[in-house]
Symmetry: C2
Subunit: 326 residues, 2 copies
Amino acid sequence: MKVVLIGSTGHYYSFHRALDSGADIQYVGFANGFDGEDNSHYIRVFASKYGTKVYDNYMEMIKAEKPDIALVCSHYYRNAGISMDLLKAGVSVYSEKPVATTIEDLDLLEKTYEQSDAHFSAMLEMRYTPAFKAAHDAVKKGLIGDVIMVTAQKSYKLNQRPEFYKKRETFGGTIPWVGIHAIDWIRWISGKEIVSASALQSNKYNNNHGELETIALCQFGLEDGSIAAVNIDYMRPAAAKTHGDDRVRVVGSKGIIEVRDGKAWLLDDDKEMELELEEEQNPFIAYMEQVKGNGRCRVQAEDAFRSTRAALMARQAADEGRIISF
Amino acid sequence: MKVVLIGSTGHYYSFHRALDSGADIQYVGFANGFDGEDNSHYIRVFASKYGTKVYDNYMEMIKAEKPDIALVCSHYYRNAGISMDLLKAGVSVYSEKPVATTIEDLDLLEKTYEQSDAHFSAMLEMRYTPAFKAAHDAVKKGLIGDVIMVTAQKSYKLNQRPEFYKKRETFGGTIPWVGIHAIDWIRWISGKEIVSASALQSNKYNNNHGELETIALCQFGLEDGSIAAVNIDYMRPAAAKTHGDDRVRVVGSKGIIEVRDGKAWLLDDDKEMELELEEEQNPFIAYMEQVKGNGRCRVQAEDAFRSTRAALMARQAADEGRIISF
């Protein structure tokens, strides 16, 4: 398959790992997501390593290279517009999450996708993390019965972030950027849709990162009266062993499953046990196989749209200090 | 000091431990909280063990015994009324939490306390659990800077509960009964007051316990824009080693403190370390010393009132599906 990359912000890592593993991929082009986007580091280090042709303009690249798949990794507020251009050109999209940073863009993107024959997926790649996959599979097997409450955590180190993180307009907010993974776990693991959101957020102690929120809490009603919550922070201290401290706790009618420190546990009326983890699959390869016609990857277009919508609604709930039903 | 106990539901354990430890206490009487309250098990097993005189009516007992302190442990919806009778009679009260199950009762109780010279405290005894105390003390020492987000968990086994747990009117609800401890940690550890609440709850899978909620989520705004959340459940499986799975995570400007499995950890920019725990103190003895004039116990009357108010407001927020500011 012919693949191109647009922009170099975010999670093109699984694509690089796929290339490095010798997967059958022609990496035919790299382009800026917009005029003046600074991708000089990527071009110097990676485009040269992979011998990829570099374009200034992504639509020129699309016309010249006719790729099967484009990865969309520009500044977050640009990604929805780029994805729409690609879908209209019949190119399948693998987009950074959130797939849009405004509800208006998300609505347009969904419509564009429906009118296109191309595939669409998003880098909600934590569905491929073995411990979270084990939790999902255990629930699906019925090991804890009916899921009624999910609580999840995302905690990251802030470090120094690029300039565009400092403005809501260009960054999109910490709930859509960081929290969306936890929101996606709720939907994916419970198998239930989110129907309402209430949220709180603050940019306290953000180390001169402008509007960037360092802390956020989201509370979600699910379609059948089940409930879920997410706590998000950019306050993970430097001494922590890992960049992220990702957790989920799933309460079911017959037991509880937890993921923490990359491991998964099951607790029910008979036992407490660690769940076996399967080998990690490459999310980009799974998507590429879907585009080829082989199976379905774990993040369908509808998942990308719905998890993004829930994140944007939670952000709005926090901005406006009200409960939003959708 | 002369001490009496009214009712035998809830947490008179620290009082019994104080008696068993040989503390200087005259346990002069036990009485029903209301006509027809069934305390036969307590009277048979404990009143006889301690040689305590048993009364049908607590006001008769108060007149006859003139106690310094009364523990109030009747059915939860009765406790506020009993406490008011005691305060009016000049008897210091050690009440089960929540100290009232309605806002109306809480308002009356606060007024009655203000007009009384007697002391008042509540069985928010988790302030005496060493790991939570260590978290509190570490924050107070400034080890994580300014607290900006607190998340806490209460998870209990349901087992079979008495009949009065099955009705909201007599039980009060799972947020005020179970969640209040976590709500109290937020106030106590952060040193910040709660000013708004949003909450979700459900009585799914409550094993024929009528209206009793098995799951709940609360989200709180704090006075300075900091934020907090609580997840509560009665779904802890039978195979779990302990009755409760109590946790707190405190995010500060300079580090994170966590309590889990009875231990406390500190993570900051320099290190990750377990906090040293001090020996557990007896909460009842601490209160009794305050009544004698020696120091202040950890749960002041204002704490009891404010944590109860936050719990009742969160319950109302869940009942009415709205954000409540107070």
